[in-house]
């Protein structure tokens, strides 16, 4: 009897441990709950991007044009940061990648600040979306 109690107690302990792990993975998204979980994050086929930009007569960036985006990214959001020599973003903007046939493109016309093209030494890109 004593052996059986110990065995059942041990079994309950082990089961509770695994159940706790299970619960941690299933906490619901709710106003009073904290969730944890994971989901697959994949690329929509982008291997690299490059941009061209337009300027006004003063040399300020007026548009950044990004082409060669895979069609699988249609509907996703393209974010571009204009980065200076100190590796600091001096302007950034977003655009939704529209529907397209062969490859997609996106144009960003607002950067949250006036950005001198001469100060931009790097474009940083991010493509996010479902």
């Amino acid at each position: 009897m004593n052996t059986l109690s110990k065995t059942l107690g041990f079994a309950v302990t082990v089961a509770a441990t695994f159940a706790a792990c299970a619960a941690a993975a299933t906490l619901a998204l709710g106003s009073t709950s904290l969730s944890a979980g994971s989901a697959a994050v994949t690329s929509c086929g982008v291997s690299s991007l490059s941009a061209t930009r337009n300027v006004n007569n003063s040399g300020d960036v007026t548009q950044v044009n990004v082409g060669g985006i895979p069609t699988a990214c249609s509907g996703a959001t393209l974010s571009v940061a204009l980065v200076n020599s100190a590796n600091t973003s001096i302007g950034n903007g977003q655009a939704t990648i529209g529907s397209c046939s062969t490859t997609c493109s996106a144009t960003i016309s607002s950067f949250g600040a006036t950005v001198s093209a001469a100060s931009v030494l790097k474009y940083s890109f991010a493509v996010t979306g479902t």
């Binding site: 089961a15 441990t17 989901a39 061209t52 006004n56 003063s58 980065v83 001198s116 940083s124 996010t128």
Partner: protein, 221 residues
């Protein structure tokens, strides 16, 4: 060899593990976060300056005269800009950017056109710099100039009343030219004033190098 014995304790562990993992897997399968695309990267730019373009090897310039509509002045050492309408003179200038070897994926950070006023008008004039959108040569005449197509005025030059170099930003035009180098037709300089005045600029044939038109370009690639 030691024989594996199925004890109650071992049975309990197997049952508990099966239940625990099964429950976890079952809940994990219900997550509906969604499938996300995520990619990040960057493009580094190189900043360069093209040596100043000047002289007949890189410049084509001329002027046309309304009062002699069939004449051309492409080899003169000066070019005239004159008002008013009815007796106008227009100057034309363009530069060959090929020596800069700027890739079409590049772009102008800044571009400055410099014209030297050899003879200033009696009163300051505001001259209009207009991009030309069709082909012309040094033998251009007033009559032929009427058939050219022109873009929207890029900028203006205020002559003042003294001689010397006058600069004007033409960044947007040069940026466009870098991206489409086959559409290199330069600019027309005109005076839309209603009073009579003439401004005389040096041309690429001018014997004084500093009096020739110049184009300075800072660009990225």
């Amino acid at each position: 060899m030691r024989r594996f014995r199925l004890t109650p304790r071992r049975i309990a562990v197997v049952v508990a593990a099966t239940l625990g993992f099964g429950t976890a897997a079952g809940f994990a399968a219900t997550l509906t976060v969604g499938t996300w695309h995520l990619w990040a990267g960057s493009q580094t730019l190189t900043k360069t300056t093209c040596p100043t373009l000047s002289g007949t090897s890189s410049t084509t310039d001329t002027y046309v005269v309304q009062s002699t509509p069939g004449s051309s002045f492409g080899t003169n050492t000066t070019m005239l800009v004159k008002a008013p309408s009815g007796s106008q003179d227009w100057a034309f200038v363009r530069f060959d950017l090929s020596s800069c070897a700027i890739p079409t994926s590049g772009g102008a950070d800044s571009a400055t056109l410099s014209l030297y006023v050899q003879t200033a008008p009696g009163s300051s004039r505001t001259l209009t710099v207009t991009p030309v959108l069709s082909s012309w040569s040094g033998t251009l005449t007033w009559t032929a100039a009427q058939s050219l197509t022109y873009g929207t005025a890029t900028n203006t030059i205020v002559t003042g009343t003294t001689t010397g170099a006058k600069t004007v930003l033409v960044t947007v035009d040069v940026d466009s030219l870098i991206k489409n180098p086959n559409a290199n037709y330069g600019w027309r300089i005109s005076d839309g004033g209603t009073t009579t005045a003439t401004t005389t600029f040096g041309t690429s044939e001018n014997t004084t190098a500093s009096h020739r038109p110049q184009l300075s370009i800072n660009y990225e690639k």
